[in-house]
């Protein structure tokens, strides 16, 4: 019953009132996850108001809904997975509609969790230590998978969030780095993040890659073991972004600038550890994240309970809301996402596709809005980041095809018919 009421509450959103020429009230779609923090804080703590904007946050339940409701103008802006604007510009997925991002909502937050049952087998079979690296964990899983195949056991099922998600590409990257073919050796399925822990407990899945706080929710329940964090795979990997329709951004240029300023101020606030008590308080209150405040608080500081046996790990910068130019939408990140789409057969290569992918990320809008306040990436650091992958395979944005060809594990079949023609 209460479900019914919340459903209609989500559904019946009034048309946005228009003040003057440009819009001042923005309807913002979001999924209740910790990486929506900047957007939530901008609305809750007056950062948007200070820029003369009202953020009307509308909670949604699926990325497909977020995408469609942005496309159909039900939302003006949206909390999105970083690959979603890239996919939309490449014409991938159902109902693609041009989407750009002028602001990244930070980095980090993802992790990979396996069931304790599988992890115990990995330790028994390979002598894997408790503090093994992400790569060693993946290799141990590979050993267990071949053992399972030899014994004729069923192929394990692993959960992620969306076909065009950081989770899909990061999970695949980690598996493949360990020598596992994600399309042959395991079965990848989509599980909505809040359900991951229960699905693991019920044995419906054997592991998952999702955002915070769901990994730690599973490890503290004693049903899962965290085996890799997003930072282990590629520290520069983008997570969530703010998505906009390009024609709306053009017609509301001033509003977009104010929005970016508001988000920048909110991001700086979220990044300050002194604010994390308050941030955890906001995030854990309705209508945001249905998880214990205590877990959210510790996840914010990167304090991880890897399992329920007391194994802990501190991951510095597990959430980067602002530092390290975390809000700057790097075209190289968009290209890396495109490279993974090529790698896994979602898209074919063409120069036009490279341009489309790059143009989904709009650092020009970020810079214009913030001027001297813009946090720009450090050139030397950026170059170093391009080779900071868990398998030491350096990303070469200039040589996309060669880069993809170098991966030993990738989709062998010819790529799916891809991206739209003009």
């Amino acid at each position: 019953m209460s479900e019914m009421f919340s459903m209609s509450a989500i559904g019946s959103v009034a048309a946005p009132p228009r003040v003057s020429k440009e819009q001042k009230t923005l309807r913002a779609g979001f999924i209740p996850l910790m990486d929506a923090s900047i957007l939530i804080v901008a609305a809750e703590l007056g950062f948007a108001e200070k820029e003369g904007l009202r953020l009307d946050l509308v909670r949604d339940v699926s990325w497909a809904n977020v995408r469609d409701r942005l496309a159909f103008r039900q939302f003006d802006i949206a909390h999105m997975l970083s690959p979603m604007p890239v996919a939309s510009m490449l014409g991938l997925g159902s109902n693609p509609s041009p989407t750009i991002t002028p602001f990244s909502l930070g980095r980090g937050g993802n992790a990979i969790t396996l069931s304790t049952r599988i992890f115990e087998r990995m330790q028994a079979l390979t002598g894997l230590p408790d503090d093994a690296s992400a790569l060693a964990n993946a290799q141990a899983l590979a050993a267990v998978l071949s053992d399972m195949r030899a014994r004729g056991e069923a192929t394990p099922t692993l959960g992620m969030t969306y076909p065009f998600s950081s989770h899909n590409y990061e999970f695949r990257y980690w598996l493949a780095a360990g020598g596992i073919d994600p399309d042959r050796d395991v079965k990848l399925v989509v599980v909505p993040p809040p359900l991951t822990s229960d699905a693991l407990a019920a044995g419906a899945i054997d592991g998952f890659c999702v955002g915070a706080p769901w990994n730690m929710v599973a490890s503290e329940r004693g049903i899962g073991r965290i085996v890799a964090a997003k930072q282990d795979i590629w520290p520069l990997a983008p997570e969530k972004v703010i998505g906009l329709r390009p024609e709306w951004a053009e017609a509301n240029a001033d509003t977009v600038s104010r929005l970016i300023v508001a988000l920048d101020r909110a991001a700086r606030w979220c990044d300050d550890p002194g604010h994390h008590d308050q941030l955890a308080e906001i995030l854990s209150s309705p209508p945001y994240i249905p998880a214990p405040r205590d877990i959210i608080r510790r996840v914010l500081d990167g304090e991880f309970s890897l399992d329920a046996r007391g194994n802990k790990r501190i991951i510095p910068d597990y959430f980067l809301f602002h530092r390290g130019a975390a809000n700057y939408p790097r075209p190289n990140q968009a290209l890396w996402i495109y490279s993974q789409m090529m790698r896994w057969g979602q898209a074919g290569f063409s120069e036009e596709n490279c341009a489309r992918a790059e143009n989904a990320y709009r650092p020009d809008l970020y810079r214009n809005a913030l001027g001297a306040d813009a946090s720009l990436p450090d050139a030397t650091e950026e170059v170093a980041m391009l080779s900071a992958f868990m398998d030491e395979q350096a990303f070469e944005p200039q040589h996309m095809q060669d880069y993809v060809a170098r991966f030993a594990v990738k989709t062998g079949a010819s790529p799916a018919p891809n991206a739209q023609e003009d």
């Binding site: 019914m4 209609s8 339940v61 699926s62 497909a64 159902s94 076909p163 989509v190 909505p192 979602q346």
Partner: protein, 199 residues
């Protein structure tokens, strides 16, 4: 398998975790002459079903987090002939809004003429709305029942503590409600709460 009307040859799959709402949709489709309708309440195993069924239209509850699962499936399953998107006509803002408000989304096989799908979607939207109304009415009815129970208990307390008859107890509650400009049920609730504290 063909129905009596021209539209009846479409194969329609309804995915709705709410069994009652799904049956309301199914009934509506049957009334409109669609006989190739399959209804499921959970998405487990839906991939295989879609492959064998090859539906022209899939209607799914917008509040189902399983939409993302469907998107993934459509990415993987080459045999599913390009099921697309949500809503029929991108340019038709009114019907998009109506669908979102009602909570309906749909996947439609590419190339299907929109005039063939629109009546189905419109029907789904109106049935979803009717269902919401039904839920609201049910909630109100339950509420009314709860209120009656509370009033009964309050009456019982007053009768016992003040030695009143049933009519007198009810009259007292009603008089207090009028004096305080409150509902009888609210006064009754106060009586029950107060009695709980005092006894």
């Amino acid at each position: 398998m063909s129905g009596s009307k021209i539209t009846a040859d479409l194969t329609i799959l309804v995915i709705d975790e709410n069994a009652i709402r799904a049956s309301i949709i199914e009934e509506g489709l049957a009334e409109a002459g669609h006989c190739r309708v399959t209804v499921i309440h959970e998405v487990n195993g839906v991939a295989r079903l879609i492959e064998t069924l090859q539906p022209d239209v899939i209607i799914i509850d917008i509040e189902s987090p399983n939409r993302d699962m469907m998107e993934h499936m459509f990415q993987l399953t080459r045999s599913v002939s390009r099921p697309i998107a949500m809503f029929v006509d991108r340019s038709d803002t009114a019907s998009i809004e109506a669908a979102v408000d009602a909570g309906v989304s749909a996947y439609i096989v590419d190339g299907l003429k929109k005039e063939r799908v629109k009546p189905i979607l419109d029907m789904a939207v109106s049935r979803f709305n009717a269902f919401s109304r039904l839920q609201r009415e049910l909630a109100e009815a339950r509420n009314a029942l709860e209120e009656r129970k509370i009033i009964e208990r309050a009456k019982g307390i007053l009768m016992k503590m003040r030695g009143l008859s049933e009519e007198e107890a009810f009259a007292l509650l009603r008089q207090s409600a009028m004096n305080e400009k409150k509902k009888i049920a609210d006064i009754a609730q106060s009586v029950v709460t107060a009695a709980g504290l005092l006894l």
